[in-house]
Symmetry: C2
Subunit: 202 residues, 2 copies
């Protein structure tokens, strides 16, 4: 399966590279491609500068479309060219996975309307405004509805990716993958200890 | 503090970007720079292609030198030019942090001789050959000796980075940072459940 990762300036580093680590080390099943609206170098305020292909090159059905979050989403939700591309490619994709505030970009396309989804709880109120017709779930490590996998904040993207792989290749396979990167995988998508902490701190 | 990250072809994606996510989102304290032997684009077999500066530009003392692992280390331990640069820059650094098999590159310089250190336990036997005089600790999430912080496999680099920040800015600060990225931080450097799993599977 190919994994096309949407890139834009000021993406969140781990939103991208957590899932990429998990997919890409499993090369016989998943091949990763980084894509952006205009191609070329995409940078963020963590000092990361990464080379990308052009989104417009995606013309046929793809397997997985991964949409990360980050401060850049605050700008990109109003970038009509990008939102149109996100809608077009999401329709072409067998699965669409979003991490953190990346859900805002997918919500903005309207494709999540009447579907269950989650996002970063610290940016919850803002993301909601991008998809008022989405059935938002606040307490979840990640949420699955139809072909859409949406995750909670940053690190939750890794748990979601392992959950996605678990559905495809079995839980034992996903556990072994988590073990090879010595990652403490939260296997239960409804187990969200950060929701409790959020309630305490907010 | 500046964090200079050593990059080389076929670095492990999360070894780099896990710690970078944690350091860089804390911009008022840490600034990240990616450096490689010749500068320019550095790629790995996860499809990541990242822009770097030249290591030779580092001429004065730096705060933190971060050395990731990955399959590339198997080649780079025999790259005398690179090992000499790793030695030179490690001496210039207030702290040196290694992730996973990145410890092999530091061990090869001789700077870890007679010091405690750890590494990826699945590559343990190989890494040992790169530093026969290092006091290796197999069961550890990460190890601290003098200015050297060495971590276990891949994800352990994130726990070590939070541990490093905890020593500097306090445990509550590190916990809050882990919370903002919804990361289940293993706070105890001696808590290593993967050691037990390794014993079972090997």
């Amino acid at each position: 399966m190919t994994v096309s990762v949407l890139m834009f300036d000021n993406f969140e580093t781990l939103d991208v590279f957590g899932p990429v680590e998990i997919f890409a080390r499993h090369k016989e099943h998943y091949q990763v491609l980084f894509c952006s609206l205009s191609g070329g170098l995409i940078t963020n305020d963590h000092g990361v500068s990464i080379m990308t292909e052009c989104l417009s090159a995606i013309k046929e059905e793809i397997d997985i479309f991964l949409i990360p979050g980050g401060y850049g989403t605050r700008v990109e939700v109003d970038n009509l060219l990008l939102i149109n591309e996100v809608r077009r490619i999401s329709k072409l994709s067998t699965y669409v996975l979003t991490v953190c505030t990346g859900t805002s970009l997918l919500a903005k396309t309207g494709l999540l309307d009447a579907k269950y989804a989650t996002t970063n709880k610290r940016a919850y109120d803002w993301v909601l405004t991008q998809g008022p017709n989405v059935k938002w779930i606040k307490k979840a490590r990640w949420v699955v509805d139809d072909k859409y996998f949406t995750s909670s904040g940053v690190s939750a993207g890794m748990d979601m990716t392992l959950g996605f792989i678990s559905e495809r290749q079995g839980v034992e396979f996903a556990r072994k993958l988590a073990y090879t990167i010595e990652y403490n995988w939260v296997e239960d998508k409804d187990e969200d200890r950060f929701f409790e902490e959020y309630k305490i701190s907010s």
